[in-house]
Symmetry: C2
Subunit: 409 residues, 2 copies
């Protein structure tokens, strides 16, 4: 008699983005003649860089010829791409071995699956607000007794509250925790932790033998000095941190799918042997995964150097200019906004303290603009919405115009 | 103090194929001037069909233009591909709804992850021999107390022994089990279960409220009448079976990565509500996965109809002809062989009852031919090797010649 993994029943209502999609579809059905301006999901909109397209077309053509066809690659990623990622880190002053880098089909999968390396009774800390995948993957795996309706939080998880008062920089846990998820630059707040601020977490983790899961998917959006692009720029990180990153937001690979994870050889936790965690992730990936698409990997390689890199930087600059327009556009109507400088996300405070889903509905109804309700990222987001810079410039401009002309606050 | 998922320590030595790779690399280093003939891993070698390449190149070109660029697709797969898969099943007389079909990055990932839907105390039955992913994913998730060195089996798993006597058709479990993994046509034995033989498992599953995980990745290799291409051809399967399949062996997508899983709405187990398992897999995929590569999905769509389908059938026929050459070539030197008619795999009995790893080493040393030791698939494989039809025709011919001329038995 098969029985289900009952931890799934502990999950609260649907994953945030499907829920937003449902609301928008329903609104669109009621308003079929109106144009929806989407600044919700962080979904890239601009053309893939030409050098990347060329590399991928070349790979498809090679697959079409018997002499150059290739089948399975290494589950950990093709050697040339792992080597290129090592070089990419080296430019930032970080030295890694090839077998510490694991190519994947994207940061989301890795961010969700990485928790399987750790015992089920691990105490998990997340920034509040946080990317829902960190939370949901742990709940679905049995690390919570369920949703606490009153607090708007999952039981047994530790929420590190990011507020205006602390500049949206997560405080250290006040209790002992085993795993700590950090995203820097942050999704959704757009805040960035400095070297010093990340260092405090590394010191905490080393002292408590905790492991930091560090999501650097937005590191290419850092425009100002003084912020780490990789956690490994900071001393001691290799002993306590796993880094997860992605080509999605850097080179427009949201649909192409490609990411990577670094599990340093020297990473340890309370009961692990030397190199054990690195080998465990290797075992996990060789058993549960069969490598990223070989076409996507060629594209990723092209993105890391030469023209492909330059063109990707142009793409990032385009979205950052959108972010500036949003930030300034929302400020103009008197909203309090954060982020959007070293990040494609603007974290906007709702007017008059209204709830984030209410403001979501209001922006959709009055301005036809979709944003992401901050409450979907955790209770500290209840009076914020995330506005994404991922859209065509003209749509961003139109959205700002619609908001400026039609929003009733 | 983070601690590891200690279930990983229950896993015996490395996953089968990395182990083979290590042995071959070591041999090649000792014999740098010799050509290795690889009939081990089921890795496709022939050019990807032109219609599929064209479809993928067209998609990359669309990604390279702002007007036609697309980012994130649905995690469950793009609608056009799910619809095409529903049509593909319909041609075989199987009627599915679109929301019962989930596109993924390949059958391996799904086969490994599907067990997360079920409770950790599920009793798992696997055919012996079996694709190692079924076993290893369950062990890594905590369903075994570890490897039993004497039996050459994992404790707590139920092995359904497939032997010459039963024609390599797994017997029904003699005890109650919760999950049953079946692969048909079978990897590694090349045997195929008839409708009637599969029906016995469906009857067992419905009576015991077990769930069958049915891997049909090789269904396009069925050349004879009387064998099901999908488990849903058989009455009652939608109440008790999940089907996992793949474009890898059908259209040469081993490196491109694309597969799918069917979780019927009517699938139930002991404690599930109506549609709950279908919704759970949807939740799993939307939380832990972000969709297959949009380029691969266009390729998969091209593979399902018209020219792409015809060209894929030619590819399958090519490998099946290789299988015939291997089957007959090995028979010629007096080996007892099975499979290779409705399957790209030949299951060859080792001569004089020697162990499969010994025969593996012998074939490598004497004939420079790599096969897969049957023992890697379970104890019932200890006196067999799997010979794969995936190689160029001339290499298959050369391998048969090398074996015929040099094997000392």
């Amino acid at each position: 008699m098969a029985t289900i993994n009952s931890a799934y029943r502990k999950l609260a209502s649907g994953y945030l983005f499907p829920e937003i999609n449902r609301r928008v579809r329903s609104w669109q059905e009621r308003n079929p003649d109106k144009k929806v301006l989407r600044l919700g999901i962080g979904n890239t909109t601009e053309a893939l860089p030409q050098a990347i397209c060329e590399a991928m077309i070349e790979k498809v053509e090679e697959l079409g010829k018997r002499e150059t066809y290739t089948g399975y690659g290494d589950e950990q990623g093709d050697g040339y791409l792992r080597a290129a990622l090592v070089e990419y880190y080296k430019k930032g002053g970080v030295s890694l071995e090839m077998d510490e880098v694991f190519v994947s089909d994207g940061a989301k999968s890795d961010a969700a699956n990485i928790q399987t390396l750790f015992s089920i009774d691990s105490v998990v800390a997340v920034a509040d607000p946080a990317y829902p995948v960190y939370v949901d993957s742990n709940v679905a795996s049995g690390r919570s007794e369920g949703w606490d309706e009153n607090l708007g939080m999952y039981k047994d998880l530790v929420y590190l509250s990011c507020t205006e008062e602390n500049g949206f920089i997560p405080p250290l846990p006040s209790q002992k925790v085993d795993l700590i998820y950090l995203c820097n630059p942050n999704n959704p707040t757009g805040a960035v932790m400095s070297h010093e601020q990340v260092k405090r977490f590394i010191d905490y983790a080393r002292k408590n033998k905790s492991v930091i899961i560090y999501d650097s998917a937005y590191s290419e959006y850092i425009t100002e000095e003084g912020y780490p692009r990789s956690i490994y720029e900071i001393e001691g990180a290799k002993e306590c941190a796993i880094e997860i990153s992605s080509f999605s937001k850097f080179s427009g690979f949201t649909g192409v799918r490609l990411g990577w994870t670094v599990v340093p050889r020297s990473l340890v936790c309370e009961d692990s042997k030397p190199r054990e965690l690195n080998r465990m992730w290797n075992r996990r990936q060789t058993t549960f995964f069969n490598g990223a698409s070989n076409i996507a990997q060629k594209g990723g390689y092209a993105a890391l150097s030469g023209e492909g890199y330059e063109q990707s930087r142009v793409l990032v600059a385009y979205y950052l200019e959108n972010a500036r327009l949003i930030r300034e556009g929302l400020q103009r109507i008197g909203l309090t906004v954060y982020g959007g400088i070293n990040s494609p996300y603007i974290w906007a405070k709702t007017p008059n303290g209204i709830d984030s889903w209410t403001f979501f509905d209001q922006l959709l109804d009055q301005c036809h603009v979709v944003v992401t309700p901050g409450g979907g990222f955790g209770p500290a987001g209840n009076q914020f919405v995330r506005v994404s810079a991922y859209n065509h410039r003209e749509n961003v401009e139109e959205a700002m115009k619609m908001i400026q002309e039609n929003l009733m606050i």
